[in-house]
C-alpha cells in the first residue's frame, strides 16, 4: 500500500512537470494543392510558379502536379495566380481563418490556420479536401481539369536487331488527318521521334497521311471504340474515351505487322505513347 501511494505521489509530480511544449512545427501556415485530371489521376502539366496578388512572393512548384502555398497570418483571404508551361494562367482566391496563440516564453507565438474556403477560381473544378492545413503540409485542395483523352502517341523506331529497336528521328513535313486541320511541321521543326495525334470521336476510325517529303507519303489508319463518360457533367460536359486502339489493314505506314507494336490500347490524359512503328 505504501509503495503504491509513493508511486502515485512521485508519478503525479513527475507528470505534472511535463508541461513545457516543444517549439517544433508550431505553425500550419502552408496548404497544399494537388492538380488532377478528371477520371485519370495526377495532372502532369508543368506548373511553373504561383504568385500571391499584392505581394512579391513567388512560389515555385517543386513536386510534379502539386504545390504548397503560404497563408498570410494578417489576412483572411489571398489571391493566387498560377503560371503554367506555355504561359497559360489560372487563378484561385482562397478564404481562411487565422488565430494567434501564445505557446510559451521560449517558443513565442504560433498562428493556427483553418476554415479554408474557395472564394472563386478559374479551374474546371475544385474541391476542398481538408479545411485545416497541417505541418508538414499535405493536400488540402484538389484541382480538377476536364479530361481530353483524344490524343494518341506514336513513336518512330528503327530496328537494331531482330529483337531490339531504338528511337529514331523521322523527317515529317506534315500529317493530314481525314478530319479537322492538317498538322504542318515547318523549318527546323521537321524531325520527330514522337508525335501525338488527335482521334475522331465522331466515328470509330481515323486516317492520317504522313508527308515525309522526299521519302514520300504513307497512310496510318487507326480503328478504335469510343465510350462517353459524364465526369462532373456541369463543368466538363461529356468526356469521350478511346479504347481498343488497333492499326487497320489499310495502313501503308508499315509493311508488316512485325513493324509496329501497340503499347497501350487506350488513350489517356495527359497523352501517353500508344504505338511504336518502324516506318518502311
Amino acid at each position: 500500500m505504501k509503495k503504491a501511494i509513493w508511486f502515485t505521489f512521485l508519478a503525479a509530480i513527475a507528470i505534472s512537470c511535463l508541461d513545457n511544449p516543444d517549439c517544433f512545427r508550431l505553425n500550419n501556415g502552408e496548404f497544399g494543392i494537388n492538380f488532377r485530371v478528371m477520371g485519370f489521376g495526377a495532372d502532369n502539366s508543368v506548373l511553373n510558379s504561383a504568385t500571391i496578388l499584392g505581394t512579391n512572393i513567388i512560389v515555385k512548384s517543386e513536386i510534379p502536379s502539386s504545390i504548397g502555398l503560404p497563408l498570410d497570418p494578417l489576412a483572411d483571404s489571398l489571391h493566387y495566380d498560377f503560371t503554367w508551361a506555355g504561359d497559360s494562367t489560372s487563378f484561385l482566391s482562397l478564404g481562411y481563418t487565422s488565430q494567434i496563440q501564445f505557446v510559451s516564453d521560449d517558443c513565442g507565438e504560433r498562428h493556427v490556420f483553418g476554415g479554408l474556403t474557395v472564394l472563386y477560381h478559374s479551374f474546371d473544378s475544385i474541391s476542398v479536401y481538408s479545411t485545416t492545413p497541417t505541418n508538414p503540409s499535405s493536400v488540402n485542395i484538389q484541382v480538377f481539369r476536364c479530361a481530353k483523352p483524344n490524343l494518341f502517341g506514336l513513336s518512330f523506331k528503327q530496328r537494331v536487331n531482330t529483337t531490339t529497336t531504338k528511337d529514331t528521328l523521322v523527317t515529317i513535313k506534315s500529317i493530314t488527318p481525314n478530319f479537322g486541320d492538317p498538322i504542318i511541321f515547318q523549318n527546323a521543326d521537321t524531325t520527330k521521334t514522337t508525335v501525338y495525334l488527335p482521334l475522331n470521336k465522331a466515328i470509330d476510325s481515323a486516317e492520317y497521311v504522313f508527308d515525309f517529303g522526299a521519302a514520300g507519303k504513307r497512310t496510318l489508319v487507326m480503328a478504335y471504340d469510343t465510350q462517353e463518360k459524364f465526369w462532373a457533367k456541369e463543368s466538363c460536359g461529356t468526356t469521350t474515351l478511346f479504347s481498343t486502339l488497333h492499326v487497320s489493314t489499310r495502313t501503308t505506314l508499315v509493311t508488316d505487322t512485325k513493324d509496329y507494336k501497340l503499347v497501350k490500347s487506350a488513350t489517356s490524359d495527359p497523352a501517353i505513347l500508344n504505338l511504336e512503328v518502324i516506318p518502311k
Binding site: A4, A12, S16, D19, I57, P70, F102, S104, D105, E109
Partner: protein, 234 residues
C-alpha cells in the same frame, strides 16, 4: 496519454487499496454501518499553489478545497484563482491571463474500515473556468515582414472533466493533509476568433487534449457529529 490508458492506470493504482480491504475481510471481518448522514466538512487549501505563487514570478494563484462525507462517498468542491504573466527579455512580447475556476464532483473512499475515515480515493470532477488574457507581440516574419499586435480574450468560459485519485490523512485533531492527482481532459472553450487561449485557469495549457494536475492540500475538518462506530462482524 490516451484516456483509456489513464483510466486503467487509475484503476491499477486503486487495486492495492481494494486488495487490502479483501485481506482484512478475510482475517477479521469488519463492517461500517451504512450511515449516509454527513459527519463533518473539510476545508483546505492547496499548498503547492501558495508556494508556487511565492517562488514562480510568472504565476500567482490560490485554491480552496472542501468536501462533505456521505458514508464512503464525498461531495467535493474546489474554487481557485490563477494568473500568469510572461514578459520577454526584450519586451517584444508579453502574455498575461487571469481567471477563476470551480470544480465539483464525487470521491469514493476505498479505505472502508478505517475508524478515522482516512481516505484513499478515486473520483471525478467537472470543472468550469472564466478567464481573460492579453498578448502583445512584435513578430519578425521572414515571409510576411514585421508586424505587431495586441490581442485580447475577455471573459472566456471553459469547462472540462477530471479523474482524480489521492489521499486524505488525519494528522492531528482537526488537521488533515493529503494530495490529489488530477487527470484533466475534454477541455472546451468558448469562441475566441482572434486568439486561441494559451492557459486556462484550473486546467492548464489549452493546446493539450489532456493534462495532469497535482495538489498538496492542508485541511481543517469541522465535525457535525461523532463518526459512526466501526463494529466487528462475527
Amino acid at each position: 496519454m490516451k484516456l483509456s490508458h489513464t483510466i486503467a492506470l487509475l484503476l491499477i493504482l486503486s487495486l492495492p487499496a481494494l486488495g487490502q480491504e479483501k485481506e482484512k475481510s478475510d482475517t477479521a471481518k469488519v463492517k461500517v454501518k451504512p450511515d449516509f448522514r454527513p459527519t463533518g466538512v473539510r476545508i483546505g487549501t492547496d499548498a503547492i499553489a501558495l508556494v508556487k505563487s511565492h517562488y514562480d514570478k510568472t504565476f500567482n494563484g490560490w485554491e480552496f478545497n472542501g468536501d462533505v462525507d456521505f458514508h464512503r462517498y464525498y461531495l467535493a468542491v474546489d474554487y481557485g484563482h490563477w494568473a500568469r504573466t510572461y514578459l520577454s527579455d526584450g519586451d517584444s512580447s508579453n502574455y498575461a491571463n487571469t481567471g477563476n475556476y470551480f470544480r465539483a464532483g464525487v470521491d469514493v473512499n476505498f479505505l472502508k474500515n478505517d475508524p478515522e475515515r482516512n481516505m484513499f480515493f478515486v473520483g471525478f470532477r467537472y470543472g468550469v473556468s472564466r478567464f481573460s488574457e492579453q498578448y502583445s507581440v512584435i513578430v519578425a516574419d521572414t515571409l510576411w515582414g514585421t508586424y505587431s499586435g495586441t490581442y485580447n480574450n475577455t471573459n472566456v468560459n471553459a469547462h472540462w472533466l477530471e479523474l482524480t485519485t489521492g489521499l486524505r490523512v488525519k494528522i492531528w485533531k482537526m488537521i488533515w493533509m493529503g494530495y490529489t492527482a488530477r487527470f484533466k481532459f475534454g477541455l472546451s472553450t468558448g469562441s475566441t476568433p482572434v486568439m486561441l487561449p494559451h492557459d486556462v485557469p484550473g486546467y492548464g495549457l489549452a493546446e493539450k487534449d489532456s493534462y495532469w494536475g497535482f495538489n498538496y492540500q492542508i485541511f481543517i475538518r469541522i465535525p457535525f457529529r461523532k463518526l459512526p462506530t466501526v463494529s466487528s462482524e462475527k
